[in-house]
Symmetry: C4
C-alpha cells in the first residue's frame, strides 16, 4: 500500500474540482499537493482526461523532479511546480489552468488592476503578468525557467507570495498557489472571476481607476489582518 | 425549540437561492430576513459555504447588532443590514452579492441607465451607484457607515427606497431589498440582468439613450400603478 | 372537458421551452398558440412562474380579446398577440421574450445586420427594430398599438411577415411568430443567437459588412426556396 | 446487417458530442467519419434534431457523393466533406458547426491571431478565414466549391492541413478535421475556446501582438515535435 495514499487523494480531489468549476476544457490544467516534510508532491499525470482520472493515477515527484511513485508521466508543467515548492516555504498546493478570462489578460500582457473589494478581499495589489522569458531560456529548461520567471516577476514588482497567491504568465495563463491544493484551486476560481469583472469594468468605463488605498486595506484586513472578523473563529 | 424557527427557515431558503441563480461564487453574498415586530432579523453566518449551510445555522440579530440566537458569527455585513432595517420601515429582506455585471458597474463607478422596459417594469430611475465613503469612515465603523452611504445616496438623488429596491456600492457591489428575503433575492437577479443588458446596449450603441418618460411610466404603472394589470389579482 | 385541451397543451409545452432554452428569467416571456378556424388562441396566464405553470392554466382568448376559457388573467401582452393573429393569416404561434442579446439590440435601437449564413438560413433581411411609438399611443391602448407598431415597421421597411418571422420592439424586446407556437419559440432561440453573433462580429470588426447578396440568397433558398434541399422530404 | 455498423456508430457518437460541448443550437452542425480504404464516409442526416438522432440514421456516402447506405438525405454540406476526404489523405473525420465565437470571427472576415500557448499547443499559425467565393461559384455547385475554397485558402497562405486542422469560411463558420471524427470534434471545441480568448484579448488590449516565434515553437513541439513530452507514451 502506498505511503502517499492521502497525498494522492487530496491531489486527485483538487484536480477534479477544475472541470466542476469550469476552469478547464479537456486536459488544459493541473494541480499538485505537496508534503513539505517528505519533500515530495503529488501531481496530475500528463494528458489524461478528467473523466478517466483516478486517485491512484497521481504521480509523486520530489522537488528535484524525480518520480518517487507512479506509473504514468507527470504533468508537462511538473518542473514549474517543483521549482516553486523548493523556494516558497509554506505553500502546499499549486494550480495551473487555461481559464478563459485569466488567459485573455495574460495574452494581452496586462496586469489585472485592483478595481474593487472582490479583489481586495484576497490581496492588495494588481495581479501581476510576468513578461515572456528570453528565447534562449525558452529553448532550454523551459518549465524550470517558468518557475524562475514567476520568482523574478515577484521580485521586480516587490510582491509577497504569501499575500498575492496568483500570477499570470504572459501569453500563457495563470498559476495560483496556497496552503494546500484546494486553496490553490480556490484562488484559480477567484482569479477567473476577478479577471472577468476587471475586463467588464474597463468595457463600461475605459477610464476606471483602482479603488482607494483605505478601502483596499479595510477589505484585506477584515479577512486577513490582525483583527480579522470575516468567517468563523475556527476557520 | 427556537422562537425564530420560521424566520431562520425563510432566511436559509433565500440564501440557498443565490448559488442556484448564479449570483455568488463561494461565500460572496448574504441574505437576511427581518421580523419588524420582534425587532430582529436572521442572517447567514460569516464565511460558511452554501453547500454546508443549514437552516439552524442562521444567526438572529437585533437592529442594534446584538446576537439574539445562534452559535456562529453573523455575516461581516450584518451592521449594514441592521442599519437599513432600522431606518427603512416596511422592508423585510436584504440581499448582498458580488454578482458579475452589477459589480462591474459598481467598479466602473457608473449608475446603470434605464435603457428599456425590463428596467422600467421594476422602477423608473437609473440604478444609483453610491460614491466611495471618506477615508475616516472606512477606518471607523465601516459596515454601519455603508448603511449611511446608501441612505445618503438615496437622499442626494431623491430616490424612494420603496420604488428603487437596489443600489450599487461604488468599488464594491450591489445591495437589494424588498418586502421579504425572497423579494430581495429576486431584485438581485433582476439587477444582474438589467446590468448585463445595459452593458451590452452600450457596446452595441455607445450613444444609446434612456427610453422615453411615457414608456417608462407605462411599464412601471402596468405592474405597480393604481390600475396595475400585470399578474393575477391575488398576486 | 375542455374543447381546447389540445390547444392549451401545445401552448403550455411551447411556454415551458422558454426557461429550458435560457430565453427567460422569472416570468419575462409569453407564448401563444392559435386555432385560426375557431378564431381563438391559448396564451400563458400573466405573472405565473414557469415552475408552477400547468397546461390547464392556459387562457383561451378570441381575436377581439374576450376570454373564452380559463380562470386566470391572460398575459398582459395578449392584445398584441390578438392584433397580429387577426391581420397576419397563416401564423399559428407568437412568442415574446426579454432574451438578453435581442433586448440589448432593441435597447440600442438598432436593426441587426445580416452578417452571416446563420442569419441567411432563416431570412434575407436585417432583423428590424421598430421605433418607439408616440406618447399618446403609449398612454392609450398600449398593447394593441404594439401590434400596430410591428405592422407599421414591416410596411415601412417593405418586409414580409412570412419571410421575416421576428422583430425587435425598440427599448423593449423581441416578438417572433411562425406556423405554430413551437416554431415561434424556435425563432426566438435563433434570433437570440443571431443577435449574439452580430454583437460579437461588430466587437471584432467595427467595419464588418453584411454578406453578399448571392450568398444570402443561396443559403435562404437551400432551406426555403423552390429547390430546397435541406432537411428530409417529409420535414 | 450493415457492413458500416462501426463507422456509423463512431459518426453518431461524434455528432452527439456537439450539443454536449455547446457547439450547436438545433441542427446547425454535422460530423462525418471516413473509411479511407472503403472510400466512403458516414455523415449526419440533414435537419434531424440531435435528441432524435440514432446511430442507424447515419448516411454512408462515397467520395463522389453517391449514397451507399441509408434511407435519409445526408447533410446539405456532404459535398464539402467528400471534396476534402478525396484530396487530403490521412484525415478520417470532419466537423462543421456554427459555434458562436468561431462564427463571429468568420463574420468579421478576420483570421484569428495566435496570441497564446493555448493556440500554440495546437498549431503555429493564425487560424485562416477563407474569403467568400465568387458569385458564379455560389450559384453553381456551392458545397463542392466550399471544399475548393478551403483548399485555395490553404494554398494561398501556405498552410499544411496536417498541422492546421481548422479553418473559418468567411461569413459562414468553421470546419475542422483530424485523424477521426472525435479528433475533428475536439478541434471544434478547441477552436471555439481559442476564438473566445482571442476576442477577449483584443478587447482588453487592442494592440495585442502574437506571441513570439520561439514560444510558439516550444509549445507546439512539446506536444507534436520529435521530442514531444506531453501526454503518455501510448497516447
Amino acid at each position: 500500500m502506498s505511503t502517499y495514499k492521502e497525498l494522492k487523494r487530496a491531489c486527485f480531489e483538487a484536480n477534479m474540482a477544475l472541470p466542476k468549476l469550469n476552469l478547464v476544457v479537456y486536459t488544459f490544467g493541473n494541480v499538485s499537493q505537496a508534503d513539505a516534510d517528505a519533500g515530495v508532491f503529488a501531481i496530475k499525470p500528463s494528458g489524461i482526461p478528467y473523466e478517466e482520472l483516478k486517485a491512484e493515477d497521481m504521480v509523486v515527484v520530489d522537488f528535484e523532479n524525480q518520480v518517487v511513485e507512479g506509473k504514468m508521466r507527470p504533468s508537462s508543467d511538473t518542473r514549474t511546480h517543483g521549482f516553486l515548492y523548493q523556494r516558497w516555504k509554506g505553500i502546499g498546493g499549486i494550480c495551473h489552468t487555461h481559464s478563459t478570462y485569466a488567459v485573455s489578460w495574460a495574452q494581452a500582457l496586462r496586469d489585472i488592476p485592483i478595481f474593487g473589494t472582490t479583489h481586495a478581499d484576497h490581496n492588495t495589489r494588481a495581479i501581476p503578468c510576468a513578461p515572456p522569458m528570453a528565447d534562449d531560456l525558452i529553448a532550454g529548461d523551459y518549465e524550470y525557467m517558468t518557475g524562475q520567471q514567476i520568482l523574478d516577476c515577484f521580485q521586480d514588482k516587490q510582491l509577497s507570495y504569501q499575500e498575492v497567491e496568483m500570477v499570470l504568465i504572459g501569453n500563457h495563463g495563470p498559476f495560483t498557489w496556497g496552503k494546500d491544493a484546494q486553496k490553490a484551486v480556490y484562488n484559480s476560481r477567484v482569479l477567473e472571476e476577478i479577471a472577468r469583472m476587471a475586463y467588464l469594468t474597463l468595457q463600461i468605463n475605459p477610464d476606471a481607476r483602482p479603488l482607494k488605498a483605505s478601502l483596499i486595506q479595510k477589505h484585506y484586513d477584515r479577512k486577513h489582518g490582525a483583527g480579522a472578523y470575516y468567517g468563523q473563529e475556527s476557520c
